[in-house]
């Protein structure tokens, strides 16, 4: 079950985590975010879910808007957002490490 961190981020493939991960490589507007997330995570986020997550992230101060370019407003990750993402990534890495260490002997036995 996905746990919720104080920043509202979960350890699963939730849109907020995916958006912060995408913005970690630089500011992007909505369409660029959706394309990038689809490319690196294989997850297609609909416009409704994407902007719902953007709204929550902005409210929590984890991302901030930049000046709009022809109605397309880019967002960038804030220091608080980077810190929240680091915590989420650390959680995910810990689980991945445990999974890998427990899977090793199992795969060895099968092989």
């Amino acid at each position: 079950m996905a746990a919720t961190a104080p920043t509202g981020l979960r350890r699963s493939n939730d849109p907020p985590v995916l958006i912060l991960t995408s913005l970690a490589s630089g500011p992007k507007h909505g369409h660029a975010l959706a394309k990038d997330i689809e490319a690196f995570a294989g997850v297609r986020i609909g416009p409704g879910a994407l902007y719902g997550a953007i709204t929550r992230l902005e409210e929590r101060g984890l991302i901030e808007p930049l000046d709009a370019e022809d109605r397309r407003r880019p967002y960038r990750i804030t220091a608080a957002g980077a810190s929240a993402l680091a915590d989420a990534v650390s959680d995910m890495r810990r689980i991945a490490d445990v999974g890998a260490s427990r899977l090793g002997p199992l795969l060895g036995a099968i092989g």
Binding site: H29, A34, P47, G52
Partner: protein, 312 residues
């Protein structure tokens, strides 16, 4: 090909304040996604879901972005809306269970009589809770009208009043018509009368719905003090509990009648055993279950938010 304004039309699901902040950029995203094509079902559903969620968040029904007092008030209003729906189901239940006491012996109908008494008691308790809640909120009404609140709620109140007048007016010709019909004709044998009665029942449902919307519209704008809000919260919790008991009692009555006098439920003759199911009873129970779930959600929101309210 997408038509100009397609994206803007799709954004109507979102509340106006949200559209003022994010509407342009979301419309640009939708246009980029469409790339000149027509909006598909998946895109429409995504925007409808997102828009309704933002409306629910704006009304403090979901999420934790609104202050705790607004979340408590939203929870109480959910219980109020649930009771509005339960009132309709209760009216239909009163009609469905009419004269059930004459359908069998006192001993056989004992459990059904007890369940029916519980339904009536819960209905009265719910009415008293709503009345007390209205009296508590009444103190904030003068302040509300002084600051021009009437203008904001005039539309919903006028719509509810007009619908009430139409529904009341329709009673007269319907009663005259019914007066010239026999019992069998009034109970389904006369198709035209049956349709007219259904139309009137729909008008009653619309009247209750419009009044619920009007009351919610007013209640959301009232300046309630902490003490009044706490009383409303407790009343809502009592109301939610009463609704849950009422729903359980209706279910119990159904089971008891199915066991003691199934012919009564299946519209058969005494001594026969038709399936103890009627469309009215199914509809009543479905509405009551949905209302109970809604009230339970409102109650849980009050309980979770009251902690934050007290901490603040």
């Amino acid at each position: 090909m997408s038509r100009p304004g397609d994206a803007d039309r799709l954004l109507r699901w979102y509340p106006a304040p949200w559209r003022a902040r994010y509407g342009d950029e979301l419309a640009a995203l939708v246009e980029d996604e469409l790339a000149g094509g027509r909006p598909g079902l998946r895109l429409r559903l995504s925007l409808a879901h997102g828009g309704l969620l933002e409306r629910a968040r704006g009304a403090a029904v979901v999420g934790d972005s609104r202050p705790a007092d607004e979340r408590v008030r939203a929870g109480a209003l959910l219980v109020l809306v649930a009771w509005a729906a339960a009132d309709l189901a209760g009216g239909a239940f009163a009609k469905t269970s009419e004269h059930f006491g004459a359908s069998g012996t006192s001993a056989a109908l004992g459990p059904a009589r007890t369940a029916h008494a519980v339904v009536v008691a819960c209905g009265i308790a719910g009415g008293l809770v709503l009345l007390t809640g209205a009296l508590v909120a009444l103190g904030a009404v003068p302040g509300f009208t002084r600051v021009g609140g009437w203008r904001a709620v005039r539309g919903p109140l006028v719509r509810a009043a007009v619908m009430t007048a139409l529904t009341a007016g329709a009673v007269v010709p319907l009663s005259v018509w019914a007066h010239h019909l026999g019992v069998a004709q009034r109970n389904g044998a006369d198709l035209a009368y049956g349709l007219a009665f259904l139309a009137w029942a729909a008008m009653v449902a619309a009247t209750v719905g419009l009044w619920a919307a009007a009351v919610v519209s007013v209640a959301r704008r009232l300046e309630l003090g902490p003490r009044a809000l706490a009383v409303e919260a407790v009343l809502a919790l009592v109301g939610a509990a009463a609704l849950a008991v009422l729903t359980a009692a209706v279910g119990t009555w159904w089971v008891a009648m199915a066991s003691a006098a199934p012919w009564y439920l299946g519209a058969g003759r005494p001594g026969t055993h038709p399936a103890p199911v009627s469309p009215q009873l199914v509809a009543i129970v479905v509405v009551l279950v949905v209302a109970t779930v809604t009230a339970a959600f409102g109650a849980s929101r009050i309980i979770r938010s009251r902690g934050a309210l007290l901490a603040a």
